[in-house]
């Protein structure tokens, strides 16, 4: 039987030295590994707002029927609504600046797109550029149209999750837009719509939402990133703490993109005790843009 006490002292010293060296080496490797992980996550966060590596051990509190409890009011905290790709700050136009100054400028953002580039097909890329040029008149948000998916999620407004029995409602303060998620349903969209038709299911800790049946009219952001009616979005939402959800989505649209791409971001719980959605009936703020040309007397 192995007993260090029976070994000659010299051997013991060598062995201790070895074990110290082994420990030192292990420590060094561990430190390097940790640094690498930290560096990697810093780089990756800087690159695309990827949520911090999910603490796989976090178990979401459950509703009474045993589902992860996502009830509450959530909001993205990024500039993806301006442009989902990485982008610099940018001027609107001098003409617009003359009226509302720096309020008109696009703030910078690292984007939410994995890899940082949207895989546009050549014709679609041309369309995107045209959309960008016309963005102040043509962005569906400027016209107070429904936001579509995934834009609903990262509009600069809070949204509320209400977990019912067979449906999960997501309601945005923006326009009071509703996503009605049919749980455990295989129903297909009866027709195309702005918000699409969402079927949801639970995959352990994760809410998986499969949405199809879109029309081709919503944009992903204020920069003219767009899709066709072939859009298919699969979202995966997982709580990472009581205070934030990790959101990721795979976006597929063979008429616009050469391959599917992923977006991801954390969503934060609005912690104010008195937080609630108020009415933002933006239709009336969009009318001058849409119908102003029909004024009897043009605005001065």
């Amino acid at each position: 039987m192995y007993d260090p006490a029976h070994l000659p002292k010299k051997i013991l010293e060598i062995q201790q030295m070895h074990s110290w060296r082994r420990f030192t080496a292990f420590l060094a490797i561990a430190v390097i590994a940790c640094l690498a992980i930290v560096m990697a996550s810093i780089v990756s966060m800087a690159g695309q707002q990827t949520p911090a590596p999910a603490a796989a051990t976090y178990r979401t509190p459950r509703t009474k029927d045993g589902k992860p409890d996502f009830n509450g009011i959530w909001q993205a905290m990024n500039n993806a609504n301006w442009d989902i790709a990485p982008h610099n700050a940018e001027r609107a136009t001098l003409k617009i600046e003359a009226v509302i100054g720096a309020l008109s400028a696009m703030p910078p953002g690292l984007g939410i797109v994995e890899g940082g580039v949207l895989p546009y097909l050549p014709a679609a890329l041309k369309q995107r550029k045209e959309n960008f040029e016309k963005r102040f008149a043509e962005d569906p948000e400027a016209k107070c149209y429904l936001p579509g998916v995934p834009r609903f999620i990262y509009m600069p407004f809070p949204f509320q999750i209400i977990q019912g029995t067979d449906h999960i409602a997501m309601v945005s303060e923006y326009k009071g837009a509703l996503r009605d998620i049919y749980m455990n349903s295989t129903k297909k969209a009866p027709a195309d719509s702005w918000m699409g038709w969402s079927n949801g299911k639970w995959d352990g800790e994760t809410l998986v939402i499969d949405t199809t049946g879109f029309n081709d009219r919503s944009w992903f952001d204020r920069s003219g990133d767009f899709h066709s009616d072939a859009l298919h979005v699969v979202e995966r939402i997982t709580a990472a703490s009581p205070y934030h959800l990790n959101y990721e989505a795979t976006i597929e649209d063979p008429q616009v993109f050469s391959k599917p791409f992923k977006i991801s971001m954390p969503l934060y719980r609005r912690m104010e005790k008195n937080i609630e959605l108020l009415e933002y009936r933006c239709v009336e703020y969009s009318e001058e843009l849409i119908y102003g040309k029909y004024r009897k007397v043009p605005l001065q």
Partner: protein, 372 residues
């Protein structure tokens, strides 16, 4: 008018504006079982001065298993699903029925009322009139008579005061109501889009879906989704949504106002009680009874399941600055099959664009014919 003629007319004039709405109706109707046509007997053969809860509350046959309130996993009474509050019951009791202390129509009277109302729905567009350029509810199955509606035989939805009439209004309330109604009526010039009423512009349906949730001319359909902490009520027209928190939080200051008010809910036994304040003044074309509401308007709503396919809805209007006393009305909500499809009203509002274009074309035409 024959169906063929109507179809021909519609193919030319049907505005894209309502495509979504019609689709919804098609989906809803397609999946619905025919409306239950058997009028329920009055809940009590009514001579008592105080009218009972809605008569549509179907009494289960004595032999049947007693109905138990369905509950959510959280143990709350389950109000979820698709519902309509369509009914032909009048809000206020007609003066003759007040005099006669008549609380219920006879079956013959009731059937005649429904038939007459269905005919009126069908005839609401007269060929060759401006109204006719809009669309035909009946053609698309939007009228109440083609959809489930509560068999409510009462002569008024108002249960208190017992005469079924809205109480007298204060001078101040009357003036507010008159001023708002006048402002509403003078709207409708077409010099700028803001002259057009809110409902046509898809800002809020006209009359507003509440609260209180009064029956609508058509598509008075609702969806309820309920969690432990909140109840969401979707109103189909314009896709308007109320969220009612259930956590007893205080209301925000009165400087914060919503067109549909700000609601707080709690459970009293099996009844969901919702208190709503912080209404803004804006909605034009509120039910005339509510046109004069003041800043201190408070609405209490009570929702209670009464059967597999019904819940009772009761609301009490309190506003001492407008009404000399509070008043209460009630009606049943009836289950419909659903689903309710996205309304996207503003997104397809070609009606407004064409109206404004037409107004400028008319201006141009008038300018060409001076002196005529």
């Amino acid at each position: 008018m024959t169906t063929d003629k109507r179809r021909f007319r519609m193919s030319h004039k049907f505005p894209v504006l309502i495509a979504g709405t019609l689709l919804t109706a098609a989906v809803v109707i397609g999946q619905q079982t025919p409306a239950t046509r058997t009028p329920a007997a009055p809940a009590s053969a009514g001579t008592s001065a105080k009218a009972p809860a809605p008569a549509a509350t179907a009494k289960a046959p004595a032999a049947a298993k007693p109905w138990v309130t369905p509950r959510t996993p959280d143990g709350q009474p389950d109000l979820q699903g698709y519902w309509t509050n369509a009914t032909y019951a009048p809000l206020e009791r007609a003066p003759a029925n007040v005099t006669a202390n008549k609380l219920f129509f006879t079956k013959e009277e009731y059937d005649a009322r429904v038939k007459q109302a269905a005919l009126a729905d069908e005839a609401q567009t007269t060929p060759g009139t401006t109204g006719d350029v809009h669309y035909d509810f009946t053609q698309f199955g939007l009228d109440k008579s083609q959809n489930p509606f509560a068999q409510d035989m009462r002569t008024s939805m108002i249960t208190d005061p017992p005469d079924g009439r809205i109480p007298a209004q204060t001078a101040e309330g009357q003036k507010r109501g008159r001023d708002r109604t006048a402002a509403y009526r003078t709207a409708g010039g077409y010099n700028q889009v803001q002259d057009i009423v809110l409902g046509s512009r898809c800002i809020i349906y006209n009359p507003p879906p509440g609260p209180p949730m009064l029956p609508q001319g058509y598509n008075g359909n609702y969806q309820i989704i309920q969690s432990r902490d909140a109840v969401m009520i979707l109103f189909e027209q314009i896709g308007d949504i109320r969220i009612i928190p259930l956590d007893n939080r205080p209301s925000p200051p009165l400087s914060v106002r919503n067109t549909m008010g700000i609601s707080r809910g709690h459970w009293e036994g099996d009844t969901l009680v919702i208190e709503t304040t912080n209404f803004d003044e804006r909605p034009q074309g509120r039910n005339a009874a509510l046109a004069g509401i003041s800043d201190n308007f408070k609405l209490i709503e009570r929702l209670k399941r009464t059967g597999e396919d019904t819940f009772d809805y009761e609301f009490t209007v309190s506003d001492p600055e407008t009404f000399v006393k509070p008043w209460t009305a009630s009606m049943p909500f009836t289950r419909i099959k659903g689903p309710i499809f996205e309304a996207a009203c503003h997104e397809g509002n070609y009606g407004i664009e064409d109206t404004m274009k037409g107004a400028r074309a008319a201006d141009a035409a008038a300018a060409k014919k001076p002196g005529q």
